[in-house]
């Protein structure tokens, strides 16, 4: 997808500038239960549905310095107060990392992570939920809930040309966290202008 070259308050998901960016719908699916990292998670969640967010809309823009990713998706049920809605942008951080399992042991992915009421965090993921916190390194995020839809802008230093992006969404009202996410099924190339 094209990364629009825009000026304006791109960190704000409601900024009018975003009207100038192409938006694409990304199909999401649950991280496979067999890929979940611990026996407890596999046993406890085998019979529960998770990764229930079916799609998210992605728009990408840059001001020349930073990459801004605007994600929008329908909010789930009323939060239960225990887990929060969250979203991440994923980038391969070593080799041909698999996107649908959020990386694996030898092929990590980098996450720009935002959670309602918390964050942003920059994480290295070596499989679903197998994450380490990293220095923020300029990663920022801002989220808005309006009309039953989340819109979140994740931003960070513009990655090297040719880096693809993936998306992960967690529905907190369904106790989704860690590897219990809805993720892109394939990497999406970013065409940086």
């Amino acid at each position: 997808m094209k990364v629009a070259r825009l000026n304006g308050e791109l960190a704000d998901p409601a900024a009018p500038a975003w009207g100038g960016a192409e938006a694409v719908s990304i199909t999401l699916g649950p991280v496979p239960i067999g890929a979940q990292p611990t026996a407890y998670i596999r046993e406890a969640w085998a019979g529960r549905s998770y990764g229930t967010t079916g799609a998210a809309t992605l728009a990408a823009a840059s001001d020349g310095e930073r990459l801004y990713l605007r994600l929008e998706w329908p909010d789930g049920a009323t939060p239960n107060g225990e887990f929060q809605d969250a979203v991440a942008a994923m980038f391969p951080a070593g080799g041909d990392a698999p996107v649908a399992t959020m990386g694996d042991h030898d092929r990590p992915v980098e996450l720009w992570f935002w959670e309602n009421g918390r964050g942003p965090l920059r994480l290295t993921s070596r499989g679903p939920g197998v994450v380490r916190k990293e220095a923020a390194d300029g990663v920022a995020a801002r989220g808005d809930l309006a009309g039953g839809r989340w819109s979140v802008v994740l931003s960070g230093p513009k990655p090297a040309a040719g880096k693809p992006v993936g998306v992960a969404v967690w529905d907190g009202s369904n106790d989704e966290r860690a590897g219990l996410a809805a993720v892109s099924q394939e990497w999406l190339q970013l065409e940086l202008a």
Partner: protein
């Protein structure tokens, strides 16, 4: 990330439920020492509840977790909620102390009354019908299990076992995913909603390293709790658990290998309808005690009764002498250092 190879000791606690008076000194000692920071108001790493009762968190005995005794696989568990733990109330101090409302306002937790709960909320309710009602106190902390399902459930590898057999969390690594809380059959892990990490008893490891007994042990006015190395055959905990078999773990069938043990409570005599004393039937139903402490509980109670007979007849009992703990320091195992004698010039706790 099992570190059992390097383990040199297995710390264990033994709580004598015949001596625990439910005074909460242990839980308050722990609270004052460890859980006074942000997000910790509702946390009671040490909790004492009346049994039978719903306990802390409310209804924890029915929340699953642990391992399936038949398949050995981890069993799904309920994620205890903030409401089920309860407590951490805000009070109307301002109104009562400074509001000019003397005689009218009284201290009470703020927020909705309905569904209110807290640690020790059902104190002294117990069970049974008068005059044969019964209850006892059950102090509970993280069991520092030998097969900790919290540790194996965690996706980030935040938990590990120390050389002392304590189960500790690296809060830098913890992502707050709370699979540990779901998986722990004892529901002794709290969530810090402000700092977004799970937290539990740390076995007072900084005290242990300085030779000081954990706060729950050192502060207990009932002389009800022992600590020591379970693998040291000379230790009181080893003798009570392994040699004399008068102390047993709570709900061992959950398969996590808990290292906190309990001397089960003896019962007062039952009263018949005509108020005569029935010395044959224990007031606490044996099957209830078995549901908590396993089938070994009956043998343990028989040993205790036998020893009491021996002493009544003028004999000596090493078991009772140990449990009575004439010398307070006997409870502390090797951790007899007085914390008041430690050098705190560097500001350390």
């Amino acid at each position: 990330m099992t570190t059992t190879e390097a383990k040199t000791r297995q710390l264990a606690w033994v709580y004598d439920l015949n001596k625990c008076i439910g005074c909460q000194t242990c839980s308050v000692a722990c609270k004052v020492l460890w859980t006074r920071d942000e997000g910790e108001k509702h946390q009671w790493w040490m909790s004492v509840n009346t049994m039978p009762g719903l306990g802390t968190p409310k209804g924890w005995e029915d929340m699953g977790g642990g391992f399936d005794p038949e398949t050995g696989k981890p069993r799904p568990g309920h994620q205890p909620t903030r409401g089920e733990f309860g407590g951490g109330f805000d009070y109307n101090y301002q109104e009562v102390f400074y509001g000019g409302t003397a005689g009218k306002a009284h201290l009470e937790p703020q927020g909705p009354r309905e569904g209110r709960w807290a640690m020790n909320w059902d104190e002294d309710q117990g069970a049974g019908e008068w005059p044969n009602s019964y209850y006892f106190y059950l102090p509970r902390q993280c069991n520092h299990c030998s097969n900790p399902v919290c540790m194996s459930a965690c996706a980030t590898g935040a938990l590990s076992r120390t050389n002392d057999g304590l189960v500790l969390r690296d809060e830098e690594v913890c992502m707050g995913d709370r699979f540990c809380m779901e998986a722990c059959p004892y529901k002794k892990i709290y969530f810090n909603y402000d700092r977004h990490v799970a937290q539990q008893c740390i076995g007072c490891f900084p005290r242990i390293e300085a030779g000081v007994a954990p706060a729950c042990v050192r502060q207990c006015p009932g002389r009800a709790v022992f600590i020591g190395d379970l693998e040291d055959e000379e230790s009181s905990v080893h003798k009570l658990v392994k040699t004399w078999k008068v102390a047993m773990p709570l709900k061992a069938e959950a398969g996590t290998g808990p290292n906190v043990y309990y001397v089960p409570p003896l019962s007062p005599h039952r009263l018949n309808d005509d108020m005569s004393i029935d010395t044959e039937t224990p007031r606490i139903p044996p099957e209830y005690l078995e549901s908590l402490f396993g089938p070994g509980v009956h043998g343990a109670l028989n040993v205790l009764k036998g020893e009491m007979e021996t002493v009544r007849a003028g004999g000596a009992s090493e078991i009772l002498t140990t449990l009575i703990a004439y010398k307070w320091q006997e409870l502390l195992g090797p951790f007899t250092v007085d914390p008041a004698t430690l050098d705190r010039s560097n500001g350390g706790a």
